[in-house]
Symmetry: C2
Subunit: 252 residues, 2 copies
């Protein structure tokens, strides 16, 4: 029986990533979280703060994958246009979400500030959307169909992911085990290929590194089936031992 694989796409919205000014942390954060939900991140697109470019990426990825996430562009300033772009992609109007407005009113009252016109921008949502709670700053994320709009600031997105944990349907989580060697990956290439070919539900990735003046590589075996994973890792370790290579279970 082949198990259904659930997939997700991610659109990272941000001139600051494309300029190199900000190092993205959301790709790795969302990827790791999705793994635990049994969902595989299958594609990421980073696009600039331009409505047409966001619309194009959102439409391509929401149709290609089970879930779509976006990060960035849901704050109060003029360059926050994600809500407008997603509404346009879906062909629905932008509304002031009453629940989001109430959340923002309470939040700003609690810190002794007013809900200005600019802050009220953070209550805008495509019609029909639900909210994703954000305990950090009041301004919620937005969920509409298979689309999830998250913040650009990584720790705010972390809180939104936390709120979503366990709410998305997924398959068996992809499991992985790592074996490391202080050996150039080019010496291990034949063993890797043979072991992967003999274990069809498993994939082996080879990730070389250069540390402490020496080269090495970590080999990451991945499978949704824990027995196959075990068997593949055992074969890899046997192959390395037979060929006379030292290796470190768990990786280096």
């Amino acid at each position: 029986m082949t198990e259904r694989i659930y997939t997700a796409g991610l659109v990272v919205i941000g001139d600051e990533i494309l300029s190199g000014r900000t190092h993205d942390k959301n790709i790795a954060q969302i990827a790791s979280w999705l793994q635990v939900q049994g969902i595989r991140l299958s594609e990421v697109r980073v696009v600039p703060d331009v409505v047409e470019r966001i619309v194009e990426a959102v439409n391509a990825l929401r149709e290609a994958y089970d879930y779509l996430f976006t990060t960035g562009g849901i704050g109060p300033t003029h360059d926050d246009i994600t809500v407008d772009a997603v509404a346009e992609a879906l062909g629905v109007p932008v509304i002031i979400h009453p629940e989001a407005r109430a959340i923002l009113e309470r939040y700003y009252a609690s810190i002794g500030k007013e809900l200005t016109e600019a802050r009220l921008r953070m209550a805008r949502a495509p019609e029909g959307a639900e909210l994703i709670p954000n305990r950090m700053s009041g301004a919620p994320g937005i969920k509409l169909g298979n689309i999830h709009l998250m913040a650009g600031v990584p720790h705010i997105t972390a809180g939104m992911l936390d709120a979503l944990t366990g709410t998305l349907e997924g398959g068996a989580p992809l499991q992985s085990e790592t074996v490391g060697c202080w050996t150039p990956e080019s010496e291990i290439a034949d063993i890797l290929r043979q072991v992967e070919q003999a274990h069809e539900t498993c994939q082996i990735g080879s990730y070389p590194f250069f540390r402490e003046g020496r080269v090495g590589a970590n080999f990451v075996v991945r499978s949704t089936n824990s027995e196959d994973l075990r068997s593949c890792v055992d074969s890899l370790c046997d192959g390395l031992a037979t060929a006379g290579f030292d290796f470190t279970p768990g990786g280096i």
Copy 2:
């Protein structure tokens, strides 16, 4: 006179990025390097180690932008399939590049090792390609038309970028200046919008942060014209001062 804007796309090839195991560093590194060359990174796609997916992304981005960069998948192991995918995208065969073979022969002789079949994989290139020198490990990057295949390991890619510096035609580099405020961006939103509207060759990005228990934001003004940039930053600082906000030229 409107200046020509040179653009680039980047395809990041790597299951390890999509699994969350590895935090990508190449997007920021290549983005920053491109800025200095007067080229704007306009889109990034992260795709898995699957030939058809790489072919699709390479074809989409090499046609949409002046330059295309890829990172990852040019090593010696079975999961290194970037050369095959790019050759397929261009409809040319894969060959053993004679110069790359000679480089690898010299490199491995210099460290007392043999050029095995697996290592020789690193001399494979789409027919017609030139090499991009790699002083770190011998294995070269590959340049063919507007496509540049770089390593996945960031410090090796850094060396390849260094070798390419000044060789690509670009426009005026995008310049930027930053102004920081220990104030929630929602309080500044109106000023930002007005200042940006008054300076049509400039863009202002607003990047909120939460540090030391306080919220603030950096406002990044970008333009290819240094006079316009100066004038826009001055207007922004005047606007902030008039409204009574403390600000930090250069950013926080």
